[in-house]
Every structure is written in C-alpha cells, then in structure tokens.
C-alpha cells in the first residue's frame, strides 16, 4: 500500500471516530472496563503466584529430637543430618527457643509452660538445596535414631499449590471470557455505526474501492478505540500498583515474601493491556465489517 493511501486511511478513521461520538465513547468504555478487570486479575494472579513460590522456597524440614536423647546423641544426630545429600544447613533450635517463638507469635498464655513444663521438643531446622527434595530429606531423617517426628510443611505447601492452580485456571477462564465480551461489545458497537453506513459501503464498492480500501479505516478506527480504551485501565492500574506496592512492601519487610517489583512487571502489564486493546479493537471491527463487504 502506498504511504499516502495509508495516511488517508488514518485521517478517515479519525474523522469517523469523531463523527460517531457516542458510539465511540460506548466502545471505548467497553474496552476500558474489560481491560481494567483483565489487568487487575493478571496483576493479582501474578503476585499470588510470586508469593506461592516464595513460600515454596521457604519450605524447610523440622526434625524433632526425642526427649530421651542425651547431648552426644543430639550431636550425632546433627552430624548425620548434615551428612545427608541435598542438605544445605542444619540449625539447632532448643525447646526454650521454640517456646519463645510460640509466645512471640501466639501470645503470653503460653508463658505458663515456661521451664520444665515446656511441652515442646528440641528441633533441628534443615534447609534443603531445592524445595522439591524436602519430602525425600524428611523421609531419610525419619530413619535416623532419636528422631521423634519430622515435619516439612509439605502438606501446607501442596495444598497451597493446589489452590493456586485452581485460582490460576479460573482466572484464565474469566480473563478469556472478559476478552470475548469486549470483542463482542466492540464488534456490536462498530456494527451499529457500519450498519448506518452499509449503503455507503455499497457505493464505495461501485466506484471501484477494494475491500481492503474500505476495511482499513474501520480497522484503524477499531485499533484506536481499543488503544484509547486501554489507556484508562493502564493509568488506573499503574497508579494503584505503584502506591499499593509501597504500602504492602512495608508490611512484608522482614519476611521472605515480596511482591513483583513495578519494573519490569508494571511495564509488562501496560504493554500487554495496550496490545490486547489494539487487538480486540481491530478484531472487533473486522468481524463487524465482514458481512457488509460481501456486497
């Protein structure tokens, strides 16, 4: 296509956007609302995903030492644990340390267990080289002597991952449904404006316009509507994410957990939403014009 012909199509599409005032606003709003939902969904999903993998990395094996174990038995156990393959660190936490932690997180009611009434075990906290081998290491640790119990939070993590998978699938379905709705809304909106122009399209064909000559302005119009519609959720999401990020990160400081940093995550979402906007806009308009070109 010649550059001046393309330029002409752009000018035509801008004229049309202006001429169809209310319809343009309706279509832009449809895109804006849909993409706001889609964008928020994606932002939340990706962050939940990130938190889940933070949890995964935080999985460690807790080996409870039998109360009958003497000091040298404990030392022997620590050595055996350290000798296991895949074990990176072994940290000792006495029953008193454990109780202090419990009191720290659950409150002073546990203070009455102080001293000899302490019902807790001494614990070795074993960190593995990779999260996938925690259950294996836990199994090996169970075989060792003076081990009262082994706990690796595997059940919790597994359940978390299951929930995550469900959330992700449901989210994906909702996102796809939303995108379809947007395409449909745009197709319909543009169809209404084209419908009033069907005689015009017929005349255009009679004076020798090719289908593409007629189609281009509509495609560009749709793409522009999608682009403008995407700008609104892009600014809302950017604003909310940037301010929300700072607030939440102060809460999360000192933990293993972190949200996805705005750079590059926010840029990626912005690019994604703008792309989706442009694509649904042009797909919507080409769907609606298809019928009228078969004159």
């Amino acid at each position: 296509m010649k550059a001046r012909t393309f330029w002409r199509h752009i000018v035509e599409s801008l004229k049309s956007i202006k001429r169809n005032g209310w319809m343009t606003i309706a279509a832009v709003s449809a895109v804006a609302v849909t993409l706001l939902l889609v964008g928020s969904f994606i932002a939340i999903l990706m962050n939940v995903n990130k938190l889940a993998s933070d949890v995964e990395e935080d999985v460690s094996v807790r080996v409870y030492v039998d109360l009958a174990a003497e000091e040298e038995d404990q030392e022997a156990l620590q050595e055996s644990l350290e000798e296991l393959d895949e074990v990176e660190t072994v940290v000792y936490s006495s029953r008193d340390d454990e109780l202090t932690q419990v009191i720290g997180s659950y409150g002073d009611e546990f203070g009455l267990f102080d001293g000899d009434d302490n019902p807790l075990y001494d614990v070795f906290i074993v960190n593995t080289a990779a999260p996938e081998v925690t259950s294996e290491v836990a199994g090996q640790a169970e075989e060792l002597s003076y081990v009262a119990d082994v706990n690796y939070g595997g059940a919790t993590a597994d359940r978390l991952f299951e929930v995550m998978a469900t959330v992700r699938n449901v989210g994906a379905i909702i996102i796809i449904a939303l995108i379809f709705t947007a395409v449909f809304l745009i197709a319909n909106t543009i169809r209404i404006t084209i419908f009033s122009r069907s005689t015009e399209i017929e005349i255009m064909k009679l004076v020798g316009a090719t289908n593409w000559f007629i189609r281009w302005p509509f495609l560009i119009e749709g793409a522009l509507i999608g682009f403008i519609g995407a700008l609104i959720p892009v600014s809302i999401i950017s604003y909310v994410y940037l301010s929300g990020f700072d607030t939440l990160m102060t809460y999360l400081s000192g933990t293993y957990f972190a949200l996805l940093p705005p750079n590059p995550f926010l840029y990626q979402i912005v690019a994604l939403l703008l792309t989706i906007g442009i694509v649904i806009g042009s797909v919507g308009s080409s769907l609606s014009i298809r019928k009228f070109l078969k004159v």
Binding site: K2, R4, T5, R8, R19, E200, I203, M204, K205, L206, V207, G208, A209, T210, N211, F213
Partner: protein, 228 residues
C-alpha cells in the same frame, strides 16, 4: 469493446430477466437502451459493471472477461467503467469535491493530481462553485452532475447510465443529456437506459430495444418506439 454472447440471467427467485441476449458495442458509441418496465434493461446494464453475473453466456468489457473475473478483481473493472444511477448514489457525508475525490483515492492517485482533476470535472459539469456543499444541499439535477463528474473522474472508457434523468424535470434532464453528449464527444462510450422518448427522438443515436430479456430491435439512429 463490450460484447455479450448468448447471455441468460435467471435470478435466484426464478425470474429470467435476460433470455438469450447478443450485442456488440464499439468504443465511442452512444447507445440508448429502451423498453418497457421489467424488460431487463437494468439487469443488462448491471452485467456490464458486474453487479450481476450471467447464469449462462459471455460478457466481455475491454480486456475483462466478466464471467471469469474473480470477485477480488471487480474493483479494477469498476475503475474503467463509470456508472451513473437514477438515485445518484452519492456519499452523503462527503462534500461535492470529496465525493469526486473518493473515486480517485480508491485508485491511489496523488492528492495534487486528484485536486486538479476534481476541479476540472466539476468545472465540466458546471458545479465548480459548489465544491464544498453536501449532496443534500443540492438539487436533483446538481446531484446527478456530481455523480457524472465522479463517474468520469478516472477517465473511464465507458460511462453507463441507468435512467439518469428518471428523477429529473425535463429541463434539467436536457442539461444532463448535453453533458453526456459532450463526454461522448471526447471518445467515451455511453450506454444509457432511458424512458425519455423526447431525448431519444431528438438526439438520435443507436437504439437497443429490450423486451422479455432479448434485443427486440437494434437500430442506428432509431426512434424511442414506445408510448411516451
């Protein structure tokens, strides 16, 4: 130039509008197509710019074989065949000059050449002073002049007109007729379906009388031949 051989056209509803038609029209001719209502004049004309495709037979326009012509190529045929309709078919949201320019943008002409030619043809049809008006601000005769200007903008070899004066008063009709004569004098073939006996009888040209989808009479310089 234009050649139809053994052409039949049966519409999907079962009506046979063209029923074994043969005709040959040379470059530069002026041809009237006359005949009663429903005889098939419009169908005959529509087959020349391929709005309708014959169900049987051959239609050739210049180097285009319209039966074999793919739908995608139809726009290129239309650029060589200017068409003028009874109801003008102007684009209502474009001004007079934009309407004419549209037919040239379609071809990808450059804006300077378009601007020059638009003024040229609008001057020819006598509407140079109304370039910025919209179709609904013009009289029927003026709208038809714009349509003619648009039809000849790309310098087609053929200009087809289906009852171009059908909606116009006699005086305006004569103005349009003079214009078509002038275009014909420049070498453009003109094919004009009409019910205007006055014009056909006063400005003599070849007459094709269509009846029941056939050429009933093909007469150089003939009369209209039906009740006025």
């Amino acid at each position: 130039m234009i050649e139809m051989t053994n052409v039949y056209k049966k519409y999907p509803n079962g009506i046979t509008a063209i029923n074994g038609l043969d005709v040959k029209i040379d470059q530069g001719e002026f041809v009237y197509v006359v005949g009663p209502s429903g005889a098939g004049k419009s169908t005959f004309i529509k087959m020349i710019y391929r709005e309708e495709v014959p169900t049987q037979g051959n239609v050739k326009v210049g180097e285009f074989d319209l039966v074999k012509l793919k739908a995608k190529k139809v726009p290129y045929l239309r650029r060589h065949v200017g068409v003028v309709y009874q109801d003008f078919k102007l684009l209502p949201r474009l001004t007079v000059s934009e309407n004419v320019a549209y037919a040239m943008q379609v071809v990808g002409k450059n804006p300077k050449a378009i601007q020059k030619r638009v003024l040229e043809v609008l001057d020819l049809v006598g509407l140079k002073h109304k370039v910025r008006m919209f179709p609904n601000e013009l009289s029927g005769g003026e709208q038809q002049r714009v349509a003619i200007a648009r039809a000849i903008a790309n310098m087609p070899r053929v200009l087809i007109a289906d009852e171009p004066t059908g909606n116009l008063d006699p005086e305006t009709a004569w103005g349009i007729m003079d214009l078509l004569e002038e275009i014909n004098n420049h070498g453009t073939t003109i094919i004009m379906a009409t019910h205007n006996s006055d014009i056909v009888n006063r400005v003599r040209h070849r007459v094709l009388a269509v009846e029941n989808g056939r050429i009933a009479r093909d007469q150089e310089g003939g009369e209209y031949g039906y009740e006025g």
